[in-house]
């Protein structure tokens, strides 16, 4: 089944507009995603960063329509190649998932079913979206394993997940995501569990993929150095909201939002060696019953009385948005 061809050929692969996903728990409403907007172009990498609990994973699940109760998408739109995913039936969504939109999960130790062999888990994915024989499906699975650098894929196909290391499992998950050469991949901190060398290999692999097939990639992480090396664009999340977005070099060189500035300041870097690392003071606020106004204001060095009003998500410089009434404009212009 194919989507109605409303998308303009040059349009972005994914456009998220004012997305809201709330969890209606007994303790109250958790606004895990609360007004998130960003765009991912074909063949581009969008880095989605933010500290733990800022809503990155929930954003990813909202895009592929896998938010489970008590959670619910309460507002906004997810446009995939111009089609509003909310307008699709569950069967149509299932046709997209794993086929044209794939997701790689955060924890490689938990993603693969422990009692099914790797070949079972890969072949079922192939056959969910392509009418091919088991043999043909196995062939594709083996090719995908080879593509992510798993040695002797034929043999590994017959293994169970527990016979793989964490890094190898994540590669298998990536191979599964690649099976149908999706137009969009949501990679949720896929390298956090891996050591640095393997992380580098996988990042290179990801970049190659985007260039080769025009795949759009959302790379969720809290590691700014990964984003700096890999992404084209960046969106910074704080307490369920995107607080800053723009081209990655520009944002990292001269952030507009005080939170982004704080994040950058807390990353160790070579050219500031010896200088003390700064830290963002205070704690991440609880998402339960957040007060109105800027959620960062208790921790912000530039907070003022106007910050008690909800700041708008405004385009302060061309292609650069920030959710702050007092952004570092002059610094950004000078940079």
């Amino acid at each position: 089944m194919s989507l109605p061809a409303v998308a303009a050929p040059g349009g972005p692969t994914l456009e998220v507009r004012n997305l809201r996903t709330h969890f209606f728990t007994r303790a109250g409403v958790v606004k895990a995603v609360d007004d998130v907007s960003f765009t991912v172009e074909r063949g581009k990498v969008m880095g989605l960063v933010g500290e733990s609990g800022s809503g990155k994973t929930v954003t990813g699940f909202s895009i592929i329509g896998l938010v489970d109760p008590p959670g619910r998408i309460t507002g906004g739109q997810v446009l995939f190649q111009g089609t509003d995913l909310a307008s699709l039936s569950e069967a149509e969504m299932r046709n997209l998932r794993g086929n044209r939109i794939a997701m790689i999960f955060q924890d490689p130790m938990m993603t693969l079913n422990p009692v099914l062999r790797i070949d079972t888990q890969m072949i079922e994915t192939v056959q969910a979206h392509a009418r091919v024989s088991r043999e043909e499906a196995r062939q594709r699975a083996r090719d995908a394993l080879g593509q992510v650098g798993i040695p002797s894929p034929d043999e590994r196909l017959r293994a169970y997940p527990h016979q793989f290391s964490g890094g190898m499992r994540q590669r298998v998950a990536i191979a599964i995501a690649l099976l149908h050469k999706p137009e969009l991949i949501i990679a949720d901190e896929p390298t956090t569990a891996l050591d640095v060398t393997i992380q580098g290999q996988i990042l290179a692999e990801a970049q190659k993929l985007c260039a080769q097939f025009g795949t759009a990639l959302i790379w969720i992480t809290h590691d700014l150095s990964v984003v700096a090396g890999l992404a084209d664009d960046i969106a910074v999340m704080y307490a369920g909201k995107v607080v800053e977005s723009g081209e990655v070099g520009a944002v990292l060189d001269a952030p507009l939002h005080p939170y982004t500035a704080g994040l950058i300041g807390s990353v160790p870097s070579r050219n500031r060696r010896g200088a003390p690392l700064s830290q963002i003071p205070g704690m991440t606020p609880s998402l339960l019953n957040l007060p109105a106004g800027c959620a960062f204001r208790a921790r912000c060095p530039r907070a003022e009385s106007r910050c008690a009003e909800p700041p708008p998500f405004a385009e302060y410089l061309p292609g650069r948005h920030a959710r702050c009434i007092h952004p570092y404009i002059e610094e950004a212009v000078r940079a």
């Binding site: 896998l66 997209l96 794993g98 997701m103 422990p114 079922e124 169970y160």
Partner: protein
């Protein structure tokens, strides 16, 4: 695997030895069979002759050694009452008990798994709540009472099912089985269901808990993210995982079911081992009691071993190797 099996067999031998001692002493303590077996009119000389013939004049430890020596040759003594080898008596009745217990286990899985699955997938629906409430009854109602009620309703009032005996049997390899004839199945239905009652509830609860837990796992969400159909997610990804605990518990319960069938067999006059042991206890037929208990011990050991092996087949993470 071989090392594992060897080690398990050695352990089993030790357990059997210890159990035999406990059983022997335990049965000895229950009472003196002489009072029951020998007619009160018998004179002193006849009495002593009989006691000697039964080997009851020796001290306990000698009786035990004699028993042990014979047991090693496959002789668990002769029944005081039937004057037949005790082992043979029990083995004759074993098929009846085995088929009853197997029938009950099968019924528990066939009824319990789907109900538990449904209750786990739709935990808040009224039907699920009904299933769970009923399963509490299965746990708490006494087996013999339910058995009597079943007889009252289906045999006495409705006259649908026979209430006693095994019915028509078919002989295979020298043993008789009821489940191969219509009449035999009709006779088996009520006792098997009665024996299954507790297990059905157990399987429902285990399955439901397993489904609810497994549904929250990342790998289930990942399976959905791959675009698999809901039925594939449920019946392959979820079901295969919950089978592991269910099979383990139901398997381990099998020994208990055989031991428990004593009650059901008495209520339905099912001519199995359970009925035999009750009759034997009434007349203090020591060799039969000892032989019965030894066979139950062996059964438990065998079942445990089989469950371990099945477990390793279902769960690839379990390796049956000789490693400590």
């Amino acid at each position: 695997m071989t090392v594992f099996l060897l080690r398990r067999l050695l352990q089993a031998g030790g357990v059997v030895l210890v159990m035999s001692l406990l059983v022997f002493v335990g049965v000895f303590a229950i009472g003196d069979p002489v009072e029951i077996l020998i007619s009160p009119e018998a004179d002193q000389i006849e009495r002593e002759r009989a006691v000697k013939a039964l080997g009851l004049d020796l001290p306990l430890w000698q009786q035990y050694l004699v028993f042990l020596g014979k047991a090693l040759q496959g002789d668990l003594g002769r029944s005081f009452v039937f004057n037949e080898p005790a082992l043979q008596l029990i083995l004759q009745r074993m098929p009846a008990t085995l088929e009853l217990a197997l029938g009950a286990t099968l019924a528990a899985l066939v009824i319990g798994l789907p109900l538990g699955l449904y209750a786990g997938l739709r935990p808040h629906s009224p039907v699920s709540r009904g299933i769970m409430a009923t399963s509490i009854l299965g746990f708490s109602l006494p087996t013999f009472w339910v058995g009597l009620m079943l007889i009252m309703v289906f045999a006495v009032q409705l006259g649908w099912l026979p209430s006693t005996g095994r019915g028509e049997t078919v002989e295979i390899l020298g043993t008789r089985w009821s489940f191969l004839t219509r009449d035999g199945l009709a006779h088996m239905a009520m006792p098997a269901l009665n024996l299954a009652l507790f297990k059905i509830s157990l399987v429902i609860r285990l399955t439901r808990a397993g489904v609810r837990e497994t549904m929250l796992m990342d790998y289930v969400k990942f399976a959905r993210a791959k675009g698999l159909s809901p039925s594939r997610v449920t019946f392959v990804h979820v079901f295969k995982n919950i089978l592991i605990p269910v099979v383990t518990v139901v398997g381990l319960e099998f020994g208990g079911t055989i031991a428990f069938s004593v009650v059901t067999e008495s209520v339905f006059a099912w001519p199995g081992m359970g009925k035999l042991i009750i009759d034997s206890i009434n007349v203090l037929d020591r060799p039969v009691m000892v032989a019965y208990l030894m066979i139950i011990v062996l059964l438990f050991i065998t079942i445990n071993l089989l469950v371990d092996i099945t477990y390793s087949v279902l769960d690839p993470r379990v390796r049956l190797e000789g490693k400590s």
